[in-house]
Amino acid sequence: MSVLLEARHISHRFGRTLALDDVSLTLRRHEILAIVGESGSGKTTLLNMLSGRLTPQSGDILYYDGHAATSLRVRGERAVRTLQRARWGYVAQDPRAALRLDISAGGNIGARLMASGARNYDDIRAMAARWLEAVEIDVDRLDDWPRTFSGGMLQRLQIAATLVTDPELVFMDEPTGGLDVSVQARILDLIRSLVRRLGLAVVIVTHDIGVARLLADRLIVMRRGCIVEHGLTDQVLDDPQHPYTQLLVASVLPV
């Protein structure tokens, strides 16, 4: 499988804190890559860099568009915005921050379509209804405001609103964080089936080894801004090499 996204020697400081220290990685098409580590390890910063929401102070992010690889820096902010509006997606941990609660569910799903130029009301509405069904929300709720939705429904709505433009690459930041365990399982199942069906490439940040094991093909373990271990998910989790990974696995996988 060909490379879709590549980070080359990314370093970044916040004030005097070195948040990322010479991080490199590649993501292939249709591949699911999990970034795991405890809070403060730099995983969310890395996700923000990969998704073009933050520009690294040094190093480059390359996106393989067709044949050519171009760095986000060279593409420029406007081209990156265009990518972010359709071909890339971002699922935030808190759907309330990502969705507009004063806009109907249909409007929220249609937003990315309209941002990328869709101008047919009935088509947008039909597409929104289809996606509401795909994330298992009753189509009757199409015109309802999301503030009446439960936490799990909001997260499913955010997933629909992200996937509606048929992206090839989706970034997810702890998409099941902050949800009840029973709700988490349902969201994970939904993500897994949608991602496989649509052939998405995904970079998912999680502190939950269980989530990584369920979803990811490959795994990156981060600590203090560095990648300490990477490899196929099963390999890393069944036979962790780095003491930090061993600690992570041991503390989370007793069963």
Partner: protein, 277 residues
Amino acid sequence: MQGYNFAYLDETTKRMIRRAILKAVAIPGHQVPFASREMPLPYGWGTGGIQLTASLIGADDVLKVIDQGADDTTNAISIRSFFARTAGVRTTTHTDAATLIQTRHRIPEIPLRDDQIIVYQVPMPEPLYRLEPSRAVSRRMHAMADYGPMHVKLYEDITRFGRVAVSYDHPVVVNRRYLMSPSPIPAFDNPKLHRMPALQLFGAGREKRIYAVPPHTDVVSLDFEDRPFNPIRAPHRCALCGAEHSYLDEMVIDDRGGRMFACSDTDYCASYQAREA
């Protein structure tokens, strides 16, 4: 007028404003910041339009000022007399006799020509302000052409009310690039913006912005393909001149629901009456 320069503003300020106008014409629909001056009329009374007019007007110009389409509304009278006093120029109520037209909230009914300039008074130049109050953020949205949220607003209107609930200041896209506020003109007037032969200038004094639509430029009102932009007017004839397609004011004539409808463009109404007579 003694003690003041021709048309009130000093020549340095006029040059600064004309530079901003040139930039605005070069980037149709883009809001150009300018060092708006305090004027002897309050902010909100047309200080942006007045500064544009003051920096453009020459001794040979013939000025028309309208507010709500009418030459006889108090603020139109006040602004017209301001220029009659400070510049001594000729003024007119006839649209076709004017070289420079300053307006608030309307575009005259008769088509303007390429030897005319129309100056709009603009209260809120930022078309995105209801969606994004921070001008630092909305400027960025313009730079990135991030106009999706505006369409989402129209989507919501249709979903909730069955139609777009914007009846004035309906946002437009200029030259297929910038989203622009046409100023609070009724949506009925929006089609007149499109490929108008006259130069259209927009001035917002308090918000310190100037923007422009050069002659013959594409101006498209935001809509959906299957819900096309469809402005409405009161479905009546003018009670004074009988015109059937002009924009009408509604006047309450009694306390039992009695209404009279008459042209908002008083010059159009008067000349229509003269023609019919």
